[in-house]
Symmetry: C3
Subunit: 264 residues, 3 copies
Amino acid sequence: MERIFERLEKVRMVSPLVHHITNYVTVSNCASITKYFGGSPVMADAKEEVADMVNLASSLVLNIGTLNNMQIESMKIAGIAANKKGIPVILDVCGAGATKYRTQMCKELLETFKVSVIKGNFSEIATIAGLNVQTKGVDSGKVAADKCELAKTLAANIKAVVVITGAEDVISDGTNTYSVKNGVPVMGAIVGTGCMASSVIGTFCAVEKDYALAAASALVCYEIAAENAEKTSDGSGTFIGSLFDKILMLSEISVNKMKRISKI
Amino acid sequence: MERIFERLEKVRMVSPLVHHITNYVTVSNCASITKYFGGSPVMADAKEEVADMVNLASSLVLNIGTLNNMQIESMKIAGIAANKKGIPVILDVCGAGATKYRTQMCKELLETFKVSVIKGNFSEIATIAGLNVQTKGVDSGKVAADKCELAKTLAANIKAVVVITGAEDVISDGTNTYSVKNGVPVMGAIVGTGCMASSVIGTFCAVEKDYALAAASALVCYEIAAENAEKTSDGSGTFIGSLFDKILMLSEISVNKMKRISKI
Amino acid sequence: MERIFERLEKVRMVSPLVHHITNYVTVSNCASITKYFGGSPVMADAKEEVADMVNLASSLVLNIGTLNNMQIESMKIAGIAANKKGIPVILDVCGAGATKYRTQMCKELLETFKVSVIKGNFSEIATIAGLNVQTKGVDSGKVAADKCELAKTLAANIKAVVVITGAEDVISDGTNTYSVKNGVPVMGAIVGTGCMASSVIGTFCAVEKDYALAAASALVCYEIAAENAEKTSDGSGTFIGSLFDKILMLSEISVNKMKRISKI
C-alpha cells in the first residue's frame, strides 16, 4: 500500500504512451488528464492504423461512450494487437445496459480479446455480469446487491480486474479486493470524471503489472487531486482546471497522508 | 411569466434524460450545461441504438453542426422514435444556408418527423423559411426583414415553436410570441453558446409541455446566468467555467429580478 | 518584420472564415482560438458539403490527428476546391510517422492538391521529407539533423511553406527562412497547443499572401499571448483560458516589444 506514490513516480519517469479509442464528448479531457499525470496520450481510431499505434503504446484504453460499428471494429483490431503485444487493455463500459446495442457490443469485445481491467459504475458492471438492472443513460443506477461481491465474482468469471466506481470504489482481481474512499461528491456532478478515471487507470497499468494495484493506485491519486482541487477551485465550473493543476502537485507526502485505501 | 423559476426547479427535481445527437465541436459543453442545469445528458448517435436511447429519454436535441449522412440517418430514426413516444424534439439548424447540403438535410429532417422547437440565428431560420439570405459559416447574417414576423410565420407554417436567437431572442409558436432580452454581448464572441442554448431548451422542454414557454424560460435562465458570469469572470477565456457556476446559483430571487421577457 | 501587428489587425478587421477539417480531440480549442484571434471558424467534414464550405472560406486548415478514410476523402475534395479558388491550405501532419497509414495519407494528400503551409514538429516534418525518424505518438522525436536545413530543403522540394514547431520554430518557403523564439515550455505540456498553432497560421494566411511571413507572424502573436498567459494563470490547468484572454489583449506595443523573430 505504501507503494502508491512510487507508481505515480514511475508514470512520470517513463511517460508511457497510452492509446485511446474513446468517445468524442470527453476525449479532450481524457487526453489532458493522461498528460497531466505524466503519460503521453494518443487518440486514433481508424482501423487502418490502430494496430500500428498499439505497437507503439504501453496500454490501450477503450471507452464505448459514443460507440458505432466502425469504432467497435477498430477496438477489436486494437484489442487483439494489444493482447499479442502483451500490453494492458482497459475497457470503460460507459452506458452499458442503457441500450441493447451497447450491452451486446461489450459482450462482443469481451469475447474477441482479453480485457485487463473492466470499469464502470454499479449498474454498468452489473449489466456486464448479467444482472438485470436499469441503467439511466450513462448515470449510475442503484440496486440492493453488494458492490464488493459483484466485483469479486465478475473478476473471477472473466479473469480481469473489475473496477466499480462510486463514492466508494471497489477494485478486485478475484483474489485481492481493494476499497478506495477518496474523492469528492462534486465529481459526480461534472461530465467526464468517469471517463478520465479510465484514462488514469490506463496510464498506471502501463507501468505496473499488478493491474488491481495499478487501478487502485490510479484512483487514489486521481481522487486525492480532486479533493485538493475542491478546496481551491471557486466552483465546479472551474473544477477540472484546478484538478489538472493539483495532479501536477501530487507529492509523496500528500498521497501518503490523504490516501483512503484498504484491502477488503 | 412568473413561472420561469418554477420550470428550472422542475428540471432540477426531475433531472430529465436529454438525448443529444450533435456536433463534435461543442458536444462537451452541451453535455456539461445540461448537467449544470440539472438534466442528465446522453450523447449517442449509432443508428443501432438511438431509438432505444430515445425510449429512456425525456427530450431529444438534434444539432447539425458537423452533420454527415450517417448522423442524419440516426437523427431520422431518433426523431421518429421521439414522435412515437411523444417527447419533444429540438432541432438546432446550425449553419443552415451555408451549404446546399446543410439546407437540404434540414428539409429532409423536417419532412421525416415532427420537430417541436426549431432554433437558429436569423439567417439560419430565414433559410429554413425559404428566404434568400446569406449565411456566413455558422455566424449570423443580417437582413432587413422582421425577426418577429419571421418567427411567427414559420411557426404557423411548420406547426413548431421557432426560436431566433440574437441580442434579442424571439420565440413563437405561431400564437404566442415572446421576446427575451437577457444575455451579454460576450456570448457572441465565444464558440458554443448557440449550441448550449439548444441543450438548455431541450432540458426545459423535457419538463414543460408548453414548448414556447419552456424555450423562453430556458433562454431567460441561461442568459441571466451569463450576465452573472460576465460580472465575475476575469475575461472571456474563463467565461464558460463561470457560466457553469452561475447556473448552479440561479435562485428564484435573481431570476425574478433579472428576467427581461415580454409577450409581443 | 515591423508588420506583424498589422497582420493581426487585418485578421481582426476582416474576420476571415477559416474552414477546418480536423481531429475530434482538440477541435473545440481550435475553433475557439480562431475566434479569439478574430477569425470566424467553421468545422465541417461531410464530403457532400466541404467544397461549398471552402467556397465561403478564406483559408482551409487540415489536421490528420484522428484521420480516417472518410475524412481523408473530404480533405481531398476540400483541398482541390481550395486550390481552384486560390485560398491557402494549411496541413498539420499531426502524428505523421507514428503509423504507416498516417504517413501514407499525408503523401496522398500532398499528391492530390497543392498545400500552402505544412506544419509539424521535427519528427513529423522529417517523416514527410522521407527521413527515417521515430515519431512517438504525436509527441516530438529528436534527431541530430538540422531543423533549418530540413525546413529549407523540404520547402524547396514541395514548393510550400514548411513550419517546424518547437522551442524554436523555423518557418521557410525555401527562399526566406524565419526563426521564432517566443513561447513558453508549458505549451509542450498541454494538449492541443500544436493543433491551435495551425488554426492561428490558417487565420493569418487568410489575410496575407506571403504565407511564410503570415505563418511566422501567427506564431509570434500566438506565443506572445502564451507568454503573457503564463505570467497570470494560476497553473497549467487554467492556461488555455488565460491564453484566450491574452490573445484579445495583444496590442501593437506588446507585440513589437516582445517579438523574438529573426530572418536566418
